[in-house]
């Protein structure tokens, strides 16, 4: 690196033009971006890719990486088979140097495996399934948070924020854990149960439901009967919306609802309405409204997003993707290469404290290459808007927790 800079200093005068020619002649550094860009999952796939694009544009404006322009090549994948096909195509036809991808864990699983066969890095920014890093795949690095972080953050919010707001000690607090019944919801629910038990919080029940169920009145009646202080809810958008609507219809308004993963978009606002949602909280990806101190550059990201796409962010996943891409580009620079071993070695050396990046992340990989300084944050619905309320240092200026307990 030093030699390179020295060379550039020497060259600055007379052969600047020649150097520029060399830089231009360098082939671009191609990154294959695996995401669903068509089909039912495309909404967030596109959003994740917008995050990547912003980070790449920003870097290219400063001269690219290792003297090469960065080029994003999209690989459309909504299921594991397509994930493998997209990797095959990007590796053989487009000659990408490495891969970055997606929020769908099953796709990440298959695509990273396929990328390993080409001996290329798969840099995971948004998939949350815990087992992805458990595979010990040598090319797999996850820079974003995982499912157990969902559970951790939800329990932290219950203990540190919700219990005091309700004026209760954790041991006097009652909680109902509800989750959808696939491995995603169940794994989060089980960790929540374990953590809450260890803090002495009373878990009144742990229920599971199918996210495609035509009716969830039975679930709501069970929770209503248990009458918890806090209703933890993990699932997808349709079942979350149906639970809210059914609870409203059944006249059930628990003092606190804390959702995990979904429920922080307008899809939920449109379905449930601002009135019933008022005061409900969601553990999700950090949003651009977090304080500058918590996520330095979050405001700049929002401004760049609005300028580039002429709209408001669709979902917060974009900010996490943007941060993930930024960390990747920095890692490649540090490694001086996209070679798997060199990138891994460079990644292993990264040590940045929390609140370094726009999403509030820091970087420190554990031995399974899971970033231990990737986090979720908690928003609260206030007047039909999503406002980041937890951790407290993430709150923007003038933001306070409201409506805990929720008005009946």
């Amino acid at each position: 690196m030093l030699q390179f800079k020295g060379f550039r200093a020497l060259a600055a005068g007379v052969i600047a033009a020649a150097f520029a020619t060399v830089a231009v002649a360098q082939a671009p550094l191609k990154i294959g971006a695996i995401n669903p860009y068509s089909g039912p999952l495309a909404l967030y796939g596109d959003e994740v890719a917008r995050g990547y694009q912003l980070a790449v544009d920003e870097k290219n404006a400063k001269g690219g990486v290792l003297g090469r322009k960065v080029e994003l090549v999209r690989g459309d994948a909504g299921n594991p088979q397509q994930g493998i096909a997209a990797v095959d195509q990007l590796a053989s036809r487009d000659n990408v140097d490495l891969f970055i991808g997606t929020y769908i864990s099953a796709v990440s699983n298959a695509a990273s495996d396929a990328a390993q066969r080409y001996n290329k890095i798969y840099w995971d920014t948004n998939a949350v399934a815990a087992e992805l890093t458990e595979r010990g795949l040598p090319n797999f690095i996850r820079v974003g948070p995982n499912a157990s972080n969902f559970a951790d953050m939800s329990v932290r919010a219950v203990i540190e924020q919700i219990a005091p707001a309700l004026g209760k000690q954790p041991k006097d607090l009652t909680v109902w854990i509800e989750h959808e019944d696939s491995i995603y919801g169940k794994s989060i629910g089980d960790i929540q149960k374990k953590l809450l038990d260890s803090k002495g919080v009373k878990v009144l029940g742990q229920g599971a439901h199918n996210f495609r169920a035509a009716d969830l009145t039975d679930v709501v009646l069970r929770v209503k009967k248990a009458n918890p202080d806090v209703w933890l809810m993990t699932g997808y958008v349709p079942d979350g919306n149906l639970l809210h609507k059914t609870a409203r219809e059944q006249g059930f308004k628990p003092p606190v609802i804390l959702m995990v993963g979904t429920g922080d978009t307008n899809e939920t606002l449109d379905a449930v309405g601002a009135d019933y949602l008022e005061g409900a909280m969601v553990v999700s990806y950090p949003r651009p409204d977090i304080s500058e101190k918590f996520g330095p550059g979050a405001a700049a990201y929002l401004a760049a997003y609005r300028k580039a796409f002429n709209r408001e962010p669709v979902a917060p996943q974009g900010l996490t993707a943007y941060t993930g891409m930024r960390i990747l580009l920095e890692t490649i620079e540090a490694a001086g290469s996209t070679d798997v071993d060199k990138v891994r070695a460079a990644a292993a050396k990264l040590d940045k404290p929390l609140n370094t990046y726009p999403s509030g992340f820091g970087v420190k990989f554990d031995d399974k290459f899971q970033n231990t300084r990737a986090i979720f944050t908690v928003i609260q619905w206030q007047g039909g808007k999503q406002v980041t309320v937890f951790p407290p240092e993430a709150r923007g200026p003038g933001v306070a927790l409201k409506n805990v307990p929720r008005k009946q």
């Binding site: 089909g39 039912p40 999952l41 495309a42 909404l43 596109d46 019944d181 229920g207 599971a208 439901h209 199918n210 495609r212 169920a213 035509a214 009716d215 969830l216 009145t217 039975d218 679930v219 009646l221 069970r222 009967k225 958008v237 349709p238 919306n241 149906l242 609507k245 409203r248 219809e249 059944q250 006249g251 899809e267 449109d270 379905a271 309405g273």
Partner: protein, 296 residues
């Protein structure tokens, strides 16, 4: 005791949802002997139809019934005329064709909406009644009433009107009906249209309850097939009471046992009924065999 009554009401109202979705499916199945795999997608199209009526004309979904139901009748007629009728000699191909339509409808809606979940608000649908501790939502009550009225109307239509009689005639014996001067193809097309219109009614009335997604039809269709088989092929009463049974089983199993197990429980009952009474609770003996008779 209170919760027992409450769960009973919840189950009956849920049965209304299943019954309404099954009614059209059962008619098509019972008369034309086509397993219409795209039935759930017709319900889905109707839900989006209600959304379009709301988004463009500002209509309440209950008003949009006046547009959506005739529109779905036309969709059904076209489906039968353009896709299913040309395949009438090969009944297994017709089943594949309905499966193809399922994929087509889902993906067309997917392409148009990009998978974003839509909601169709209705002030009326959200109102609730309280009787003691029991709360009933207008949206579900409307469905229950609509199912009851639609079932009675369909029954009267099949018994009393000329078209209804011709539908029953072709159900019993296509060849004899043709010899009696009944236009079998036209009868089938009209039947398919009515079945689709009933899916339209279900979709428009279900729209305020759910978050719309292109795959939502699949949420009901498994239950609807169970209702059809449980209640009896081609029987209006079968769809009605079959829906109630599935709804009640689901509500009781979900509340008293475990919401995770409720589907498993009603499938056990479904299998038991199949073993003990293969025609379904209200089906005529032998009705399930008709489809395999020579029908040309």
């Amino acid at each position: 005791m209170d919760s027992l009554l409450h769960v009973l009401v919840v189950g009956l109202l849920l049965g209304g949802i299943y019954g309404l979705v099954s009614l059209g499916l059962n008619l098509i199945f019972g008369v034309i002997r086509i397993v219409n795999f795209a039935h759930g997608e017709l319900v889905m199209l109707a839900m989006y139809g209600a959304y379009v009526c709301y988004a463009t004309l500002g209509l309440d979904p209950y008003v949009s019934v006046l547009i959506v139901v005739p529109a779905l009748f036309v969709v059904g007629v076209l489906m039968h005329r353009l896709v299913l009728q040309p395949l009438h000699a090969e009944s297994s191909m017709q089943i594949f064709a309905t499966f193809g339509l399922l994929i087509l409808f889902q993906n067309a809606v997917l392409a148009l909406t990009r998978g974003e979940g839509y909601s169709v608000p209705s002030k009326l649908a959200a109102t609730t009644f309280e009787v003691g501790d029991i709360r009933v939502t207008m949206s579900r009550l409307v469905i229950f009433v609509a199912l009851t009225l639609a079932a009675i109307a369909l029954h009267v239509f099949l018994k009393r009107t000329r078209i209804g009689k011709s539908i029953r005639a072709v159900t019993q014996d296509r060849q004899a009906a043709r010899l009696m001067g009944i236009n079998v193809e036209r009868t089938f097309t009209i039947t398919f249209g009515i079945g689709a219109a009933l899916a339209g009614l279900a979709g428009a009335l279900l729209a305020p309850i759910y978050t719309l997604s292109p795959g939502i039809g699949g949420n009901f269709i498994l239950a609807a097939f169970a209702v059809v088989v449980l209640g009896g092929l081609g029987s209006v009463a079968g769809a009605y009471f079959g829906g109630m049974i599935v709804g009640l089983v689901e509500a009781f199993a979900g509340f008293y046992i475990d919401p995770e197990l409720k589907q498993a429980i009603w499938f056990v009952i479904f299998l038991a009924v199949l073993v003990v009474r293969p025609t379904g609770l209200f089906g005529q003996a032998g009705a399930e065999d008709v489809g395999f008779r020579e029908q040309t």
